[in-house]
């Protein structure tokens, strides 16, 4: 009982810090996305403005979405629920706050260096060495804080969310270091095809071993609580966890099926991409059965509503992903906007939605008062949902046009006008998502620091 009181009395400074980090960088990240989308529509618009040429805007957008918006959002929820699940206090709030500061310095550094043209030129691993080191340090600090909290726990059993968060943070610290080749500070790369293999081993793990486990952890916490029902099966959840660890760690080569990498590696990647159905369905069956007959409760809680929607998107992105790993399918879908659509269902529809859900679920608990405006949060929900589904539709269509043209040997300049309209629609939807991020930031800041709530 004493421990329970202690946990509730915790200041939750780290969780608040990560919540603000996520809400703020969501605005910046989606702004860069919008800028990039606009440049695809009107390439001459930003001509001769070196800092914001597409080649610099795109990595800035991607890195900020991954490490600025989604990961901190998920970590914010984790810093709230890990001590509670373990019946103890966070090992060190001070260390947590220090981590938030390091994290934000790394993000500012990322934007500044990418805009100035400092890049290692490898997708998802563009950041230069000093920033790589800060990222690895930040993940290691988060892991240290969590593992020490586990050590001090009063609850002997580790709930599945704890397993996921621990695995996600330590595996990312390791794979980020490996994938960014941090032992070669100058280039951050190996040479030739080996570099591509290592890069995509890491690139895939950013989604599979960072976003996916952290999102699963948040869903496994929020859904039972919102439904006020126990998890359908903890055994099944652990099965899903270990299956993910076994299968997800080595399927990165499915990004390189049309590249001369060894066939055995492709076979491993394809077989295990299909085998991903096991951890995915173990997770979804568990969450959906927990929520069965309780959708009213989920609807009543805006955080849970975001999270539950994220799980539905996880179903779509994973089934699509398993199919995309089949070489015959990929002959059409690779190298075009189909993959960009898939990326947005995964990162925004699944992990981003769950990150927002985690934020909206925990913020009233962090601040001790209701959300500033449930209406604004609902509004943001619809804007993100419509924007994301819209992205998927237009980019998939554009991708199919490009893929077909590619197969038929058409030249690129004949295809570009055909997909122009889809790019315009995509930029419009991007504007909507950016606007929603601004609303979300306002709502979250007011919820954390404001004295009053808004009427609904």
């Amino acid at each position: 009982m004493a421990a329970e009181t202690q946990t509730l009395e915790s200041p939750n400074t780290t969780a608040k810090g990560f919540a603000l980090t996520s809400a703020f960088w969501m605005m910046i990240a989606t702004f860069f996305g919008l800028l990039g989308a606009t440049e695809l529509v009107a390439p001459d618009l930003t001509e001769n403005i070196g800092g914001i040429v597409f080649g610099r805007v795109r990595p800035t957008h991607v890195n900020l979405v991954l490490f600025g918006f989604v990961t901190p959002g998920l970590l914010s929820a984790a810093f709230y629920f890990i001590p509670r699940l373990l019946r103890t206090r966070l090992f060190s709030e001070r260390l947590g706050v220090f981590t938030v500061v390091v994290w934000n310095i790394a993000l500012v550094g990322a934007v500044a260096t990418l805009a100035a043209g400092f890049t290692q030129g490898r997708e998802y691993a563009e950041l230069i060495w000093p920033i790589d080191i800060m990222v690895v340090a930040a993940f290691s600090l988060v892991f240290y804080n969590f593992i020490m909290t586990v050590k001090n726990r009063q609850e002997p059993i580790l709930y599945v969310s704890v397993w996921y968060v621990l695995a996600g943070t330590i595996l990312t610290a390791c794979t980020f270091a490996l994938g960014n080749v941090i032992w070669k500070p100058d280039s951050g790369a190996l040479v030739g095809i080996h570099d591509a293999i290592l890069l995509w081993f890491y690139g895939h793990n950013v989604f599979g071993l960072l976003l996916t486990p952290l999102s699963a952890a948040v869903a496994y916490y929020v859904i039972p609580r919102a439904c006020r029902a126990p998890l359908y099966s903890h055994t099944l959840s652990l099965l899903g966890f270990w299956a993910l660890i076994v299968v997800y760690t080595h399927i990165g080569t499915h990004h390189l099926l049309q590249v001369p990498v060894p066939t055995w590696l492709k076979v491993v990647a394809i077989v295990d991409s299909v085998a991903m159905v096991i951890p995915v369905m173990a997770f979804l069956i568990n969450i959906w059965y927990t929520a069965k007959g309780r959708l009213g409760e989920i609807h009543a809680d805006i955080g849970a509503k975001f999270v539950f929607t994220g799980t539905i998107m996880y179903f779509f992105v994973s089934i699509q992903g398993s199919l995309m790993a089949l070489p015959d399918v990929q002959r059409v879908t690779h190298f075009n906007n189909w993959v960009v659509a898939h990326a947005h269902i995964g990162v925004l529809g699944f992990a981003g939605m769950i990150a927002l859900g985690g934020l909206y679920y925990t913020i009233p608990k962090l601040s001790g008062k209701p959300l500033y405006s449930r209406f604004l949060a609902d509004f943001q929900y619809w804007m993100v949902l419509i924007g994301m589904v819209g992205f998927t539709v237009v980019l998939t269509i554009a991708g199919l046009i490009q893929g077909n043209a590619w197969l038929n040997g058409e030249t690129v300049y004949r295809v570009l006008p055909e997909i122009h309209v889809y790019y315009v629609v995509r930029a419009g939807l991007g504007l909507m998502i950016f606007s929603s991020a601004v609303l979300g930031f306002y709502n979250i800041v007011r919820s954390l620091f404001g004295k009053t709530g808004a009427s609904s």
């Binding site: 080996h194 029902a229 122009h420 629609v425 609303l439 709530g453 009427s455």
Partner: protein, 86 residues
Amino acid sequence: MYYPYFIAYITIGLTISLVVFYWAFKTGQFTDQQRARFLPLRDDADHPPVKATRFNRIEIYGLFFLAAAGLGATAAVLTFALYFSK
């Protein structure tokens, strides 16, 4: 040469995973699964809702303006794209 990196990674990863799995097994992480299902529910001391106070007018107008501007711009772009661009 990617083999040494991969072999090192696989060996280290597998070893750590097996050690952690063994630890989990030994410390009874796979027992008492019925109780584990209820772990998220135990801590139910959510703060009672604070009553919302009167809404600041300027704020609501500002926010509506922002939201309407976002949606309006989106609609304008879509209309332009679908009907007016060649």
